[in-house]
Point group: C3
Chain length 145, copies 3
């Protein structure tokens, strides 16, 4: 059964990352710097190259892969919650190449920004913490109960 908790919007940040930034690390840095504990990020832009992951649902391991070419970010969507007491970003990304073909996966460090514009929403609410989930092998959300 699904679980969910109510939150209230606190504020919103609009921003852009810099040319050459590591996409995931720089968003993480912003969240750590602002101590954002509950958030949601949406973004678009382009990357010089991408490093993504696919979660193997049988072996419970991330399989990392790179796409070593310029790509549009058609969509990045992710959330901010707490893992081991610190703000943690979980983001997935959809990309496209010069022919318009689309790619996607779990965003990993190693994806290099060409340009990126984002909206980062911050919420007040009960803390959402990631803890190991046996069924999936992933650090999933628990909600204070």
């Amino acid at each position: 059964m699904a679980m969910m908790r109510k939150a209230k919007p606190r504020e919103v940040f609009f921003g852009r990352l810099s040319h050459g930034d590591d996409l995931l690390e720089e968003i993480s840095n912003l969240c750590l710097r602002e101590n954002i504990q509950l958030g949601w990020v949406e973004a678009l832009g382009a990357v010089k190259k991408a490093r993504l992951a696919f979660y193997n649902q049988e072996t419970h391991e991330y399989q990392f892969f790179q796409i070593d070419q310029p790509l549009e970010i058609t969509k990045l969507g992710g959330n901010v919650s707490l893992k081991d007491g610190h703000p943690f970003i979980h983001a997935h990304i959809t990309l496209s190449d010069k022919a318009g073909n689309a790619y996607g996966g779990h965003l990993a460090a190693g994806t290099v920004v060409f340009a990126c514009e984002f909206k980062l929403e911050v919420f007040d609410g009960p803390s959402i913490k990631r803890e190991f989930d046996e069924a999936t092998g992933l650090p999933l959300w628990t909600m204070g109960d």
Copy 2:
């Protein structure tokens, strides 16, 4: 010509679906349970398999198809409005496979959750109802006029 109506954010739910849930049915259940009449949902995660649809713009029929393999949800986006007096979810989804190739379509029942984290925004505003639209053959939004 486009039509649009103003609404005000009321509250936001953060949550996760459970391993094995039917993705569309479980989001629908949450909206029915909370009586959400106007909303917007964004999500990411992974599915064990997907059942999607493509709307045939000539015959005005949905063509359903399955992708019988584990996939990342790179993005789910959908809205909640009223159809036949009840909360109704309309959602589209983008997925990716182990090689990073992306797929997508209209989310149909039969898509099975591996893990899924969502933000469900609820709004106060004029009711938006779906009614049959002749030009498209779809139940599209009408807005009280």
Copy 3:
């Protein structure tokens, strides 16, 4: 280094575009009509055909291309800021065909709506203006400093 600014949600519009509209032009018209200076748009639906662009990161030119067939909009995401003193939409789109294959890119004029439902959020905050950026060749966000 990333730059970002705080904003506050003002209001939200829910709406739909009309059958046959130019997707980008009609969203732009709505923003001009309502004088939206800072916003974010999310949408789903379908198009009769798409005209997209891929930004060539070496030559600093957009390469436009068309996909001349009906497609689902699995996701449109974009922002509204100021360019040359006027509201300006920057949107990327993910699409899918009847086989479920996904495509994407920078949304260009010439994409024709079959049906499209959107959420357009409007914010109060410091103005965000697009100005020429040497490193990328693009009109990127500056934030009043």
